[in-house]
């Protein structure tokens, strides 16, 4: 999902103060919601606030607030970004508060090209510019102190929220310097600390967001409580493209606590004093639907159409040499079809939006990965101007791509504009599961050959499925090619002189599709890494050794392979029924190699024994955060690979809650060891999706090693008979 490679504009970032100028009076400033207060935070006071750029605010009493352009949804980004800013600003992490950024172009992520948290881009896009933002602020504070003391700036030092002049043993706090710093020019040039001087970057401090998450005080979107607020339950037509034909208004309004019933052409909301009234009211309303043109569609119909579409050539993503000819010449060849299901995101916090829409403006309290889109959705729904709509972003109870879409916020706004009071609109779990925008189903045809001495002789990969890019970011399409649909297929770690990769777009009418953790690579790396494994077994080669041979030109690939080989004890004797599988990939500018050991019982039940993952994401900001993301990302991907698929019958999604869209649980989770093998000189890589990408292929390859069965279709568990969905 890397859509734009805009050069990061340092000037734009350094100059991007919200109201222009270096500082302004607090009385003229509307504070956001400080989500997480520093343990040492001073209260704010009237006076001149130092705001050198859009990311830093320092009050006269020394309260340092860092403004987060990324949403915190568990990935630890509030901590990682704060480390980048604080490292150069010269403050300790326990001296800062963090605050969610408002919707404002000052907070555009240049990899994404918009205000967005996604695509594992946050740290990559912030690594240099946010350190520069911190350094520029520090230089202005130092310049202010030097001017006050009449000494050279070079004779001053900044650390722990103070500027020191060792020569005269004087010091001033950042708060004391705030007003004077506003009179300093924004530096035209900043130089960053060498890595050897880092005191924060590369360490694992306590996360900034976790204390509040141990005592119930953390505020997720669903926790918004606005004076006078009512609470509503939404139900949309269970079949995409259908519409509401009737409901029992009197019965709904007769339920104690119900205050309103409001409708859209394709959805209904019952609003009450509390969620229980809204839920009971919806039962009483008993909405009736015309299911529309998709009323009889099943997943089988969608797959059959996709299968047919896949028989035709697609848009060419990569063409090197002559794949067809090389396949004809191959000593061994394999022709296979791989299939990946529709997937729900199923974050534990269901979709919810709280809005207060007034004639002159609106407030929106929501957790979103795209605050700018959220604001535009509300503008489109209400006719209000975007500048009169305030989006108060919140902690997100799991994103995984779901909150990259803002349609649910637009839907909520179309309901909320029909009432005068603030209203919190919640999707039940059943609504969240069945009305999700799903990860596309993919139907992949792949043919690969090997020469006599084990090199690849021809590689033809044709993927067929929905294009998320075409709907969500049409500017990202490249003459009919969706770069996401082939990410991880077009570029592989391996030497492939004769390679053809194609994309056939086939849109299912009954389903809307969306990004899902790991995006293109989660799809394609499963196919590629399974196929490499098939080639290894077919030709009697060790799967890890074959990868080393094929990736011999990639030193960082060899490094992670060697590390995981050593750590996992690859090749050691295993008990009967056990098997080890490996997956190698380069995604989001990060290399990783993962070995998974699995045990399969006689009845087909699968036990995950142990996982080792070696990771090289270039320079490291927050090591424990990386380990946590790999562990969690693997569990997320393994859950999907074992259990998950969304299916349709009569146009309706059949899975409704966690009893039939199964989650891995603690008793099933394997130990996961993560081995960091950084490359400080390389480009910095993303991490939030890397573990998820490795999960399915490592598991498929381990299951083959354990059972001799090649599983080319996700999910796996029911195919071995040990798990009834």
């Amino acid at each position: 999902m890397k859509r734009k490679n805009l050069p990061t504009s340092r000037r734009a970032l350094l100059g991007a103060a919200l109201s222009g100028g270096g500082g302004f009076l607090l009385s003229a400033f509307l504070p956001g919601l400080p989500l997480l207060k520093a343990s040492q935070a001073q209260d704010t006071a009237t006076g001149v606030v130092f705001m050198p750029n859009a990311f830093i605010r320092i009050t006269p009493l020394g309260a340092v607030t860092l403004i987060m352009r990324y949403a915190e949804m568990g990935q630890g980004i509030y901590t990682g970004i704060s480390m980048l800013l604080a490292e150069e600003l010269g403050v300790k992490l326990d001296q800062v508060s963090v605050e969610a950024a408002p919707a404002d172009p000052a907070y555009v992520d240049s990899v994404a090209g918009e205000e967005e948290t996604g695509g594992s881009s946050s740290t990559r896009d912030s690594w240099i510019p946010l350190r520069e933002a911190g350094a520029a602020a520090r230089m202005m504070l130092v310049a202010a102190a030097a001017q006050i003391w009449g000494v050279a700036e070079s004779a001053c030092q900044a650390r722990d929220g103070r500027v020191f002049h060792p020569g005269s043993e004087r010091s001033l706090s950042y708060g004391e310097l705030a007003e004077a710093a506003t009179h300093q020019p924004v530096p035209a040039k900043v130089s960053l600390k060498p890595a050897s001087d880092f005191t924060l970057i590369g360490t694992s401090p306590r996360r900034l967001d976790t204390k509040a998450k141990t005592n119930g005080s953390a505020q997720f979107g669903i926790d918004a409580q606005i004076p006078g607020m009512k609470i509503g339950r939404i139900m949309a037509c269970p079949v995409k493209g259908g519409h509401l034909t009737g409901y029992n208004r009197a019965a709904a309004l007769a339920v104690p606590g119900v205050v309103d019933v409001v409708t859209l052409p394709d959805a209904i909301a019952v609003i009450g004093e509390h969620m229980w009234a809204a839920m009971k009211g919806m039962e009483a309303a008993f909405p009736q639907w015309d299911y529309g043109p998709n009323a009889t569609t099943s997943t089988d119909d969608i797959i059959a159409r996709m299968k047919k579409a896949s028989e035709q050539s697609g848009v060419v993503a990569v063409k090197n040499g002559n794949a067809q000819e090389a396949l004809k010449q191959a000593h061994e060849r394999i022709d296979a079809v791989y299939e990946l299901p529709f997937l729900a995101h199923a974050p534990l916090e269901p979709i919810n939006t709280t809005l207060h829409i007034r004639p002159d403006g609106a407030d929106v309290w929501v957790g979103t990965q795209v605050p700018g889109r959220a604001r535009q959705e509300v503008a489109d729904a209400t006719g209000l101007r975007p500048e009169n709509i305030a989006v108060h972003n919140h902690l997100i109870g799991g994103g995984f791509g779901r909150r990259l879409d803002s349609n649910s916020i637009g839907q909520a706004a179309r309901f909320a504009k029909q009432v005068s009071y603030p209203v919190k609109l919640i999707w039940t779990r059943e609504e969240d599961m069945t009305q999700d925008q799903f990860r596309p189903y993919y139907y992949d045809r792949i043919s690969a050959g090997l020469t006599k001495d084990g090199a690849i002789s021809g590689w033809h990969h044709r993927t067929t499925g929905s294009s998320v890019t075409a709907r969500w970011y049409p500017e990202g399409m490249q003459k009919g090619l969706d770069p996401d649909a082939v990410e991880g297929a077009a570029q592989t770690p391996y030497g492939m002189p004769d390679q053809l990769v194609e994309f056939v777009r086939d849109e299912p009418d009954a389903v809307t599709t969306l990004w899902w953790r790991g995006v293109g690579p989660t799809h394609n790396v499963f196919v590629v890494e399974s196929m490499i494994d098939e080639l290894a077994h077919q030709s009697g080669q060790d799967p890890l050794a074959l990868r080393k041979k094929l990736a011999a030109h990639q030193p960082r690939a060899l490094k992670v392979l060697n590390e995981v080989e050593k750590q996992s004890g690859w090749g050691k004797a295993l008990p009967p029924g056990h098997g080890m599988g490996i997956a190698l990939h380069y995604s989001f500018q990060t290399w990783s190699a993962t070995v998974l050991e699995v045990a399969v019982e006689k009845n087909g039940s699968i036990r995950l024994v142990q996982v080792h993952s070696a990771v090289d994401c270039g320079p490291i900001v927050f090591p424990d955060g990386i380990v946590a993301q790999i562990q969690g990302g693997l569990i997320f991907g393994l859950t999907m690979a074992l259990y998950n698929e969304i299916t349709l019958k009569d146009g309706r999604v059949e899975q409704t809650n966690f009893h039939n869209y199964r989650m891995m649980r603690l008793n099933e989770a394997p130990d996961i060891q993560v081995h960091l093998v950084p490359d400080p000189e390389a480009e910095i890589g993303g991490i939030g999706e890397v573990g998820t990408v490795a999960a399915a292929p490592a598991l498929a390859n381990a299951l083959f090693a354990a059972t001799g069965k090649r599983l080319r279709r996700i999910p796996f568990a029911k195919q071995l008979g040990g798990e009834k969905a």
């Binding site: 949804m73 568990g74 990935q75 630890g76 694992s204 306590r206 996360r207 967001d209 976790t210 204390k211 509040a212 998450k213 141990t214 005592n215 119930g216 005080s217 953390a218 505020q219 997720f220 669903i222 926790d223 409580q225 609470i231 104690p256 606590g257 004093e273 509390h274 969620m275 229980w276 009234a277 974050p347 534990l348 916090e349 269901p350 902690l395 997100i396 109870g397 799991g398 994103g399 995984f400 919640i426 039940t428 779990r429 946590a628 562990q631 969690g632 990302g633 569990i635 997320f636 859950t639 809650n657 966690f658 009893h659 989650m663 891995m664 649980r665 603690l666 008793n667 989770a669 996961i672």
Partner: protein
């Protein structure tokens, strides 16, 4: 109907339908939003509270059934010796990612340690399998429970 609920050692009178789940009473009537809605059908454990010291799913516990009993929520768990240790272990092991399930996880783990101060891995499996963590923090939850248990000694 009026009910007297004892929540976190404070008596609260609420006027709600008798079949209303305690989850929504806590969140929407009493403003205690630390207890989370995840599934509504006792599949995920995000709404776990203690009823007379036992972990229960607030999404299926009606207010009528809870009246007259002690309800303890995440907001007050720090006032129990075991709860405070569990919270600290959660921080020390950096268990938490998005955090949405963690109120329920901490309530379940506290109940486990109150009943079995030195749980085995099998005890942890049994006590915690009802609590889904979508971020996949299970490896660290297990470690943190063992850590909190070692402080119990």
């Amino acid at each position: 109907m009026r009910f007297d609920l004892k929540v976190n050692n404070v008596l609260r009178e609420v006027d709600v339908p008798p079949d209303m789940p305690v989850l929504w009473v806590l969140r929407d009537i009493l403003g205690l939003t630390g207890t989370k809605y995840g599934c509504g059908v006792a599949q995920c454990g995000a709404c776990t509270v203690h009823l007379d010291g036992q972990p229960v799913r607030a999404c299926l516990l009606t207010v009528a059934a809870a009246a007259g009993h002690d309800i303890l929520t995440i907001e007050a768990i720090e006032h129990t010796e075991t709860g405070a240790k569990v919270q600290q272990a959660w921080l020390d092991e950096e268990v938490i990612q998005c955090g949405y399930c963690q109120s329920g996880q901490i309530m379940a783990a506290t109940a486990l340690l109150q009943q079995i101060p030195q749980p085995t891995d099998a005890d942890i499996d049994e006590a915690m399998a009802g609590n889904i963590c979508r971020c996949g923090t299970y490896v660290r939850i297990r470690k943190a429970i063992h850590k909190a248990a070692s402080h119990e000694a």
